[in-house]
């Protein structure tokens, strides 16, 4: 491994960290809800990148497909639906931000303390390619959770369709 590749690798990792946290800051602090929604896109992509650095290849794909392709689109749809295009500017009002900032800072400090002071029992090397073992586990040990998730998705589908159906028909 040349020094250059190594340097690039490091740069990419730290850039990804900064991207993730920075865009999450925009989500939290932006006064404009549309900007928040689009920053959330970058956060999701950033987290997918971190999964990449953790060698979780299947999760990278899942994160991009479901979070970016599904959940974010739903959220954007909700944003667009509820704020007529003319009315886009300052609709992401903040209330009691001082309290929120205090709470968030406190929680952050506690979590950092927990994360850095705990003596984590760090074991061995990389897990390796993940798609095949995950598929096998879903058909074996995790078959029941898999089926339960199917039931949850079924219920969510029927429920969401029921709630939205009337409104769309009107």
């Amino acid at each position: 491994m040349t020094t250059l590749t190594s340097a690039l690798y490091h740069a990419a990792f730290y850039a990804d960290m900064v991207l993730t946290v920075g865009s999450a800051c925009v989500v939290a602090f932006s006064k404009n809800i549309v900007r928040s929604a689009f920053s959330l896109l970058l956060t999701f992509v950033g987290v997918a990148g971190l999964y990449g650095f953790l060698e979780a290849d299947f999760l990278v794909a899942t994160q991009l497909l479901i979070y970016v392709g599904g959940i974010l689109v739903l959220l954007l749809f909700a944003v667009m639906l509820t704020h007529r295009i003319s009315n886009i500017k300052a609709s992401n009002e903040t209330s009691f931000s001082a309290l929120a900032a205090l709470a968030a800072t406190g929680i952050f400090l506690v979590l950092v303390e927990v994360g850095t002071k705990t003596h984590w029992d760090v074991k061995g090397g990389p897990l390796g390619e993940s798609t095949r073992p995950i598929g096998l586990l879903l058909m074996g040990d995790y078959l029941l959770p898999f089926e339960v998730a199917a039931m949850i998705l079924l219920a969510a589908l029927i429920g969401a369709a029921y709630l939205a159906r009337n409104a769309i028909r009107k």
């Binding site: 979590l111 984590w120 339960v148 039931m151 079924l154 969401a160």
Partner: protein, 511 residues
């Protein structure tokens, strides 16, 4: 080591009550979309059949478990790679949930606000939610607990907002969804920390990992943070302070049968999962049906007893000022979460037993009270205490039944609620937590104030002018009230069989 296909099929045989619920759900979906003309409430009756059939198989499991002897090894059956436990504890809860599902259906039969076009969806969501309750109390891993919780939550979000054209119902659904999503998000973060520390998702494996660690590694801060975060998710389900904020609004806005369902089903399941998690992961069995917290620095019983007192006090004090019956019952159910938490903090089999006993009585008391709300709305068109004025003379039987439910909720003898509270306080006193017992009794006295206010409105206040004639009570209500009130009265004088059942269901747990 992954289970073979054969093992999974064999496990399925022990999973029949759940499988029947799934099949009923699918049948309802198929029938709902077929263009066959269906009579009114046909799908609801089909749901009843599914629940009853599931109950029959549940009974068979119970008998099998009993016959295999009371020994822990043979009657703690673990299914699907240890992720689900089939023990008497779970079976007891599942029986309660089937009862809750059935009673919710019964309340829905005459609930007028229910959109008839959505009957299929209503039944499907109710069945899914019941299945989620089943999985919650059986779960032995963090993953199953989370999935079960979500399978309860997601259908109930929709059910709370089932009256699409009612603004109150819309708001209830939105509040419930947002608070629910927040609670499960925080819980997940706590679970992830615990997972990182213990290296497993399995409750028992987490205990082994924590027991094996020197105090250097399992830092008390980490454990407290993750425990509090996980408690946020479970506490949301049982509606204990400080995770109760959604409760009054959701209870008021949701359709009344669903309110009744939410006030009993998820609460009971929340206690089931709390007991399993706290007793199997965060406590060590110290013999003789007693447990001790797993790490000395993590005195979670103290945290829970403070929450218990806060919950019952907030619930009872806020209930005094309410005018809407549904909001009053919401605060009453918060207060009851507080009483039931007393059974968790004692860390003994007596505590588990008291919770199991109380929950069974609680099902009847709460559904009785909510049946009265449905009745009031159906015949008088009101859901407020104001609407009850003088009703005791116009429709005596429903009002007497309601009074019995309310007095039983207060814990007055000779009703079932008294016996339940008696066992709860007995457990607390057995552990010499006198301050908790005293605060609990004081709270019960406060609760008498608002329960009695309803009874006073029914019997001691003047009938509004022009409404003096007796109200014809449909047979449906008389029968339903009789069915709900009879167990409360019976358990007040002859409670030995339920004690035996609840003791048996708690005796094997966690050993």
């Amino acid at each position: 080591m992954s289970p073979t296909a054969l093992a999974l099929v064999q496990d399925l045989r022990l999973f029949l009550p759940e499988v029947i619920l799934v099949l009923t759900t699918l049948l309802v979906i198929v029938l709902d979309v077929t263009p066959v003309r269906k009579s009114h409430r046909a799908l609801l009756y089909l749901t009843f059949c599914g629940l009853l059939l599931s109950g029959i198989y549940l009974l068979r499991h119970y008998v099998d478990l009993r016959e295999s002897g009371g020994r822990a090894s043979s009657s703690n059956v673990l299914l699907f790679g240890n992720s689900i436990a089939l023990d008497p504890f779970a079976v007891y809860f599942k029986g309660l949930f089937l009862l809750v599902g059935l009673l919710t259906g019964v309340l829905s039969i005459r609930y007028k606000k229910l959109n008839p076009a959505g009957e299929g969806e209503y039944c499907v969501l109710l069945l899914c939610s019941t299945l989620g309750l089943f999985l919650m109390v059986g779960s032995r891993t963090l993953l199953m607990a989370y999935l079960g919780l979500e399978l309860v939550s997601i259908p109930s979000f929709v059910l709370a907002g089932f009256q699409r054209d009612s603004r109150l119902s819309n708001e209830a659904a939105l509040k419930y969804t947002i608070y629910g999503a927040i609670a499960s998000g925080i819980m997940l973060y706590g679970m992830s920390l615990l997972f990182g520390l213990a290296g497993s998702l399995d409750f028992a494996a987490i205990r082994h990992a924590l027991e094996g660690q020197t105090e250097l590694r399992a830092s008390p801060l980490l454990l407290s943070v993750s425990m509090l975060m996980i408690l946020a998710g479970f506490g949301y389900k049982i509606a204990c302070v400080p995770f109760h904020m959604w409760c009054p609004d959701v209870y008021e806005g949701a359709p009344t049968p669903i309110t009744a369902f939410l006030s009993v089903g998820p609460k009971a399941a929340g206690f089931g999962v709390i007991l399993r998690f706290f007793y199997q992961s965060l406590s060590t069995h110290s013999g003789g049906g007693d447990w001790t917290p797993i790490v000395d620095q993590l005195q979670w019983p103290i945290v829970l007893s403070v929450l218990s007192v806060a919950t019952m006090t907030v619930g009872n004090l806020a209930a005094v000022a309410q005018t809407s019956l549904k909001r009053l019952m919401a605060y009453s159910s918060i207060a009851h979460a507080g009483y039931l938490l007393m059974g968790v903090v004692v860390l003994s089999k007596d505590g588990i037993f008291a919770i199991l006993f109380y929950l069974a009585v609680y099902v009847f008391m709460n559904f009785g009270a909510f049946l009265f709300v449905v009745f009031l709305h159906d015949l008088v068109g009101s859901e407020d205490i104001e609407g009850c004025r003088g009703l005791g003379w116009r429709a005596p039987f429903p009002c007497i039944a309601m009074a019995i439910c309310l007095f039983s909720l207060t814990g007055l003898p000779p009703l079932g609620g008294f016996i339940g509270k008696f066992y709860l306080f007995l457990g607390v006193i057995g552990r010499e937590l006198y301050w908790l017992a005293i605060l609990g009794v004081l709270n019960s006295v406060v609760s008498l104030v608002y329960y009695a206010r309803v009874v006073k409105a029914m019997f001691l206040e003047n009938i509004p002018r022009g409404e003096a004639e007796p109200l014809p009570v449909p047979f449906f209500y008389s029968a339903a009230f009789a069915v709900l009130v009879a167990p409360i009265l019976l358990l007040g004088v002859y409670w030995a069989p339920l004690v035996k059942l609840a003791r048996y269901s708690s005796s094997i747990f966690g050993a």
